[in-house]
Amino acid sequence: MRILTRVLLIVTLWLPGIGAAETVSQRGAALAYACVTCHGPEGRSQGAIPSLTTLSSADIMTALQAFRAETRPSTVMHRIAKGLDDTDITAVATYFATLPRR
């Protein structure tokens, strides 16, 4: 039994790297962890900072791209958005869309 466990573990370790979809979702989660510091746990905000859970992934992507281009007014988001590339914007928008709506 123990030998079987070891073999399984070794096989698992030899498996090829995580798939592309999972990489995107991991990056999305990592980015979202930074967003929730201001926007609240799971993107549900208390107070004046907007919640993210009411937005679709398309809404979030559009908003971040507009903040980055400074075509949409903001306070801090035009600065934050300049730190994100297109892949990041897609990843984080996709991540928030997977969270429970409210």
């Binding site: 123990r2 370790l13 905000s45 208390q46 900072i49 300049k82 994100l84």
Partner: protein, 424 residues
Amino acid sequence: MSVLTRRHVLGFISGFTLACMRTRLAWTQTPSRVVVVGGGFGGATCAKYLRRADPSLEVTLVEPHRQFVTCPFSNAVLVGLRDLASVTHTYDGLRQRYGVRLVHATATALDPVGHQVTLDDGSTLTYDRLVLSPGVEMQWGALEGYDAAASEQFPHAWHAGAQTLLLRRQLEAMEDGGLVVITAPDNPYRCPPGPYERASLIAHYLKTHKPRSKLLLLDAKDTFTKQALFRDAWARLYPGLLEWVPGSQGGRVVRVDVPAGTVHTDFDEYKPAVANIIPPQRAAAIARAAGLDDSKGWCSVHPRTFESTVHTGIHLLGDAIIATPMPKSAFSANNQAKVCAAAIVALLRGAPVAEPVLMNTCYSLVAPDYGISIAGVYHVAGDKIAAVEGSEGISPVDAPDEIRHREAEYAQSWYANITADVFT
């Protein structure tokens, strides 16, 4: 020629045995143990996110206090805009919701080779990975005449709690027309904009309740964070009331004399009704144990994992580390904690460590309805943190009042959200 002593042999055997034991532990799926020292924005966040990422981890949070009083918004407590309870948080959520084991003790010593932490009750904790997020301590004596006893007369209020309330009582007891002196230290120190937010809110309190009073901000520095925004707001809101004295123009405080009630610069002597001395600081003692700190009392880390550059297996976060250009802020500590937690989970599994997401946003109140911010996104280049071009910056200097009002509301909202992220 090397001599093989009994000690070498024993050391080799015990090291080898330990290595075998660790391997065996891995095979038999004994949970990995992570000890986190310090229950502030860095440590509490790290403990929570470790358990969130891998519920099989045994996570122990070592924190002497049963409640955490935040420095963010303690300046609002100082001037009566909030009460202390509103900036006080318990560890119940971490314990009950995330299964973090709380040990209310002070870590006093480290054994980086034996992977052990000694607590002040004499017990020890063994770890596979250790996270130190103990914050700062005041460097008593670095400013002549200023030690722990002196801080009972001239509070620093740079640890929130009793010191905050002491300074608040002094401000409340002061007669209208009194002089308040705040002294700000050289960089680096906890919360770069903190002294300037504090000066602003005390000026607001004086303007409202004791308008004949004067506030002098004696600074060791000539420049400070969000300077253009603060100075513009001061000129508009507190003309003649708040005066900032830069270091090169006599602002550097060289000595305090508590029995005489005086504060001394190279040129002048002040006898304030209330003195708030923000002294030089360094990483708290446990982060300087085992040679983890540099000659100036701060710790350096590899920014992909926040692992110490001195000892493997030990990670450091928050105000105790130099993570320039990330400032020593609550947001930075919270953000670093999440990166560190993800890295530890990966390292324990032997998986690759993901590229970190590093950010900071920091609000300051210049008046209750007047907020300003600084923000930045960072990436790691080589083994150094650098700002992503264009992301780092402060609120616009010429913004309309409406933007200041909104940022003041955002500051309040940020506080509710970050504390929910850390403690619930």
